[in-house]
Amino acid sequence: MSKKLLLKNDHVPYINKLSVYREHGGYSVLEKTLKNTSPENVLEEVKKSGLRGRGGAGFPTGLKWSFLARPEGVPRYLVCNADESEPGTFKDRYLMERIPHLLVEGMILSSFALGANTSYIYIRGEYFYVARILEQAIEEAYAAGLLGKNILGSGFNHDCYVQVGAGAYICGEETALLESLEGKRGNPRIKPPFPAVAGLYGCPTVVNNVETIAAIVPIIEMGGEEYAKIGVGKSTGTKLISASGHINNPGVYEIELGVPVEEFIYSAQYCGGIRGGRKLKAVVAGGSSVPILPTELILKTANGEPRLMSYESLGDGGFATGTMLGSGGFIVMDEDTSIVKNLYTFARFYHHESCGQCSPCREGTGWMEKILHKILEGHGTLKDIDLLWDIQSKIEGKTICPLGEAAAWPVAAAIRHFRSEFEDYVTNPESIKDIKHYYRLQN
């Protein structure tokens, strides 16, 4: 279960350089495709592969591509979402930093399929040094005739640019990203129209995550049908998981979808178990937005089946007993962790990152942060727990973009699965005196 498609060469020295990337087969897929294949065939292979968006939503990529409007005489754009800001997620950074040419090759291949002559990689401003790595890769690609006019004699023209953001989680939402790319505040647009019809500069646009675009290269190399054989059920292929928190081996792992969660946490090949041999308390499996699950529900579904790292298995049981694969930001918490304090860091994050357009999100995120702070400081009441529940339920589904849900779900899940801990905070603080709010550094 350790098939590697994206990170198979991540430890090759200087793989970030074009010459080394090519020695390891880089750009051969692009060459073959431009020579022998039509854009329609590329789209067909992506559809067959069953690839689902790796940014978090898991929407089928082939389907998203097929929605792209193709009016005569109007340019089409491909925009790569490299705004990676979901707490717990750092896989795209790793991929871009280590193998920038894989993303560039994926950008050209995808643009060929979509008929886009211009593409932008929108990267979060804090990843400034990664933007530089990408720019160097793009420069090398231009010099080698892999970008620009008449690429490799195929008649296909393509320009690719890197655009840096300036610190705003909301710009990971595709329409906010497009606004930001147009030089505006990152306020999400009302949909429809969807970007496939009216995206960047009002033109048909596809926005895909870094990992999604990189995955196009192995998909075209092996063929969609072969790719679809990897993984489990509708969770085809491999996925990059960012593992962090109280584990022995934090880092980015490429897994074949379907690895049991228990194996992922405890196997030496992956997380290597809980730090200091402690017990597991809870996991946030797919980035801060997805519901937190206690040990018994993250290792096994409510039916007692082993929980797998796949879209379906992690989602099994709905939000009552399940969660989501999301962006693959896998945060592990040991037995002493304060769930309330962890939730507070999330609530503070969403309050900070709400763009302020919709009242339920702008006001609700602030209230949730304040109430959690009050509970943590020992001034909470039982009514506050109900109030938190009430507020989150009034944000969900009532905002233009999914930041509302992203802020509401973690609150709902923490109360759903750890209500007794919240109650102890307000009625019996003595009983939780061993719970940790503050972690000292090892020195």
């Binding site: 750092f90 610190g167 900070h352």
Partner: protein
Amino acid sequence: MITSEQIAFSKETLELVQKMMLRYPEGKHKSALIPVLHIAQAEFGGWLSAPVMDYVASILKIQPIEVYEVASFYSMFNLQPVGKCLIEVCRTSSCWLCGAEDIIDHIEKKLDIKVGETSKDGRFSLKAVECLGSCGTAPMMQVGADYHENLTIDKVDELLEKFKTEDKQSRYC
């Protein structure tokens, strides 16, 4: 303090900005606003004063309000002066789980400033920030453009010593 008359990009920077504007289709050069604001912040003392923003508006041929509304939206743009060395410590979930608060407390004591403040000599500014995508190498801090990861107290002390003489104001350099 820079006065309005002195605000002008160098010839090289102007050329860079003109080249940047060619990345976008004709008439869509406003797209260059965020990258150009990064450059302006780096060139004019680590923050964006109203005259600097007005200058950027004039370069991009857009209204000053279009610059203000963008500069005030994004957390990387400083609308107040900052120290010559801007320290930003991540404190969201994974970093908190791995001791970010201990880092913040240590730096506060060491520099005798609180989060959000600048040291009296104008050398250091300290910010606590939200997730910087370094969760697997937590705890971490960004100083200028650089990521410093897997922090320990010793490592922080070493870095603070180094930054006494090294300017790390802007992340765009």
